[in-house]
Subunit: 142 residues, 2 copies
DNA sequence: TCCTTCTTTAGAATTATTCCAATTTCAACT
DNA sequence: AGTTGAAATTGGAATAATTCTAAAGAAGGA
């Protein structure tokens, strides 16, 4: 088969749930995110996918990434005004931006912390999403 | 006197500490942030300051805001890829983005929460800054 | 005052992202 | 199998926030 199979068809399922079509472009884009989980930018995803789908356009990469975000398979990660990065990690997690390397690390959240954080909101505030981001120096990666 | 005086010269002090000059442009920009604490964008600050300093340029507003951020008098607040907003609140606080109105609210943090959040970092991670952002529906403002 | 440095300014440049109009694809229905 | 209509892709143009640049303007110290 010509399409990647890393994702065990979670993609096809989620797309179907949203009434969207599964396409090779979407498969390869999602696959690129799963294969190298280094929070690539759209440009980086474009470069990686182009090696396998040479005809894909940057606009399509943006479209696919947006679709994956809509389907809750991928999170868009913004840090200051740097290009948006994309993350296929489904678990609740924070992000740590290493200033010296420019790299982004996932930080898993202990259970209950999100609820506790939500608890600081004054009455009447209803949070749909919480973003927790650190900036600083990360340990050298192994 | 012609320069605003809301800020009790914290500005002059902080600028001096950093070896920078105090200028009318910097005073008026800082004053605009203090007078209406609604997290304006650079464009909005530009419009407000221009009523008092008609000759100021947008580039200068950007320069002044950047300087204020460097001096730790102002925080730059980013949400997704919307234009950067500026906040003169010095206390540790989170931000709540109301999706329907586009407004940004400060959420004061209970003492100890930042330390607790910092505690979830694996050994070796050294966080210089923490950003906590909510997205959702805020109560109608009084 | 002169000199040096910092600051401001207008406009050009940058760049991530979105928009657009024209194909192409594809599933559903004859 | 052929038709159809909506969805998806494509290349290129457009957008918009921000930064850059080069020149002119202020300001403090010798």
């Amino acid at each position: 088969m010509s399409t990647p199979a890393i994702h065990s068809d979670a993609l096809a399922q989620k797309l179907a749930d949203s009434g969207l079509r599964n396409t090779p472009q979407r498969e390869f884009v999602y696959d690129a995110l799963l294969k190298k989980r280094d929070h690539p930018t759209a440009d980086e995803v474009y470069a990686r996918v182009k090696t396998q789908l040479p005809g894909i356009s940057l606009a399509t990469v943006y479209n696919c990434l947006e679709t994956l975000v809509q389907c809750d398979l991928v999170r868009a990660v913004n840090f200051e005004r740097a290009p948006t990065r994309y993350c296929p990690n489904q678990h609740p997690h924070a992000h740590f931006h290493d200033e010296s390397t420019g790299s982004t690390h996932d930080i898993e959240l202990p259970p209950g912390l999100l609820a506790k954080i939500k608890g600081i909101l004054p009455p009447g505030y209803d949070a749909e999403a919480i973003e927790l981001t650190f900036r600083g120096k990360a340990p050298p990666s192994r």
